[in-house]
């Protein structure tokens, strides 16, 4: 029998130990370490995208009606989180960040809950959307029908440079509008919408927005492959 590590053992006996003296010497996590979630409710618009993309079902969104709007509470259960950063990636308003704080120790369940509530005002709560509702789809629908006949007629090139602004006016409430001259009705925006406020019919070539549900997160705009959505 031979002792291959004797030499190493002796040399290490006289060298400095390679220990991090952790509890006595604090250690910072690596710069991009994904630790405890920080949530800024003031930036949140309550789109619910994070809830949809979370693999561990760690995020819950609750809406409680309040005077003049609703309270939106987002709760992150770190005990169910995989710290994959997807929620922060998908958040359009950077309301979620993963900090480098790794000390996530709990003796009771509340220690691992990150939560925040923000109040969302509904502009003229019920009546306006009700009034606007018939108008908006109509406005959206009529150009669609026109576009269905116009768009194929080789006017695509000039329309791309000059037409978009006159063709559709952006809404004043920051919600998306579809430019039918560019839209190919791929339904990507409808699929991406966290609130499912967009309805696209591929056969009928219609694009409808339920402005009541829309929170104006802009996901549809970034998702659109043809830049047809204007906010």
């Amino acid at each position: 029998m031979d002792f291959p590590f004797v030499k190493q053992a002796i040399s290490q006996l006289f060298s400095k130990p390679s220990c991090d003296m952790y509890p006595f010497v604090p250690i910072e996590a690596a710069p991009n370490y994904r630790g405890r979630i920080a949530y800024d409710p003031n930036k949140c618009i309550g789109c619910g995208m994070c809830v949809r993309v979370c693999a561990g079902k760690a995020i819950t969104l609750t809406r409680t009606p309040a005077e003049g709007g609703e309270n939106i509470t987002l709760t992150f259960d770190l005990g169910s989180c995989t710290f994959c950063n997807t929620c922060a990636d998908f958040c359009n308003d950077n309301a979620i960040t993963l900090t480098t704080d790794y000390h996530m120790i709990a003796t009771k369940e509340e220690d691992l809950i990150v939560t925040g509530t923000h109040f969302k005002e509904k502009k003229k709560p019920a009546p306006k959307p009700a009034a606007a509702k018939p108008a908006a789809p109509a406005a959206a629908a009529t150009p669609v029908k026109a576009a269905a006949s116009d768009a194929p007629k080789a006017e695509a090139a000039p329309a791309a440079e000059a037409a978009p602004a006159p063709a559709v006016q952006p809404r004043d409430d920051g919600k998306p509008v579809n430019d039918p001259s560019k839209c190919i009705y791929c339904t990507l925006c409808a699929k991406k919408c966290p609130q499912e406020a967009i309805t696209v019919d591929r056969k009928a070539k219609t694009w409808e927005l339920n402005a009541d549900d829309c929170v104006g997160c802009g996901t549809c705009q970034t998702a659109c492959p043809k830049d047809a959505i204007i906010m």
Binding site: S80, M104, T107, K108, D111
Partner: protein, 178 residues
């Protein structure tokens, strides 16, 4: 005289027993890495033992699958008192990505009293050290009070709860003196 020594020693020599309840092996590797030269948990008295009868702290990793549940519970029962149960990683706390699977029996806290949860997927070895050291203190507290449900204020709780915990800490100190 000896009782005081025993209580002090209990906090200084916690022996670990690691139970894999269907873990993906991530947490298992990190638990072992806590014992490597880089982190060396032995310098604060931790030791990985092979039999639950020798253990003080049981570290459970994995989402507690249907197959492992009876074995996990039986192993935990075999640990002599005072004992601490620590969950490592998100899985035993909630099921994490395996939640609602047909083969997962849900959080461990449904079946036994869990003393410390270490969140993370997987937790950083330093976080595991934090959790185990807290568990060791809880162990000493359990020996001191004789209460198997005894717990200590969590120094790593988010700030709000930390403020609430402060008066509680003072209260326990007063009780200890009385």
């Amino acid at each position: 005289m000896f009782k005081k020594t025993i209580i002090e020693s209990t906090g200084k020599s916690p022996w670990l027993f690691h139970i894999n309840a269907g873990s993906c092996n991530g947490c298992d590797i990190e638990i072992v890495s806590v014992l490597t030269p880089r982190y060396d948990a032995e310098r604060v008295g931790f030791k990985l033992v092979g039999s639950p009868r020798h253990a003080d702290i049981a570290v459970v990793s994995g989402p507690v699958t249907k197959q492992s549940l009876p074995r996990v519970l039986r192993t935990l029962e075999q640990i002599p008192e005072p004992r601490c149960i620590v969950t490592c990683g998100s899985c035993p706390q909630s099921g994490n990505v395996f939640r609602d699977s047909y083969s997962v029996c849900g959080p461990l806290s449904k079946y036994v009293h869990v003393d410390v949860d270490i969140a993370g997927c997987t937790p950083k070895p330093e976080a595991i050290m934090d959790g185990l050291l807290l568990a060791a203190q809880i162990l000493a507290e359990k020996k001191k009070t004789g209460n198997q449900e005894a717990t200590l204020p969590n120094p790593y709780a988010p700030e709000k709860t930390a403020e609430e915990a402060k008066p509680a800490e003072e209260k326990t100190e007063e009780k200890g003196e009385a």
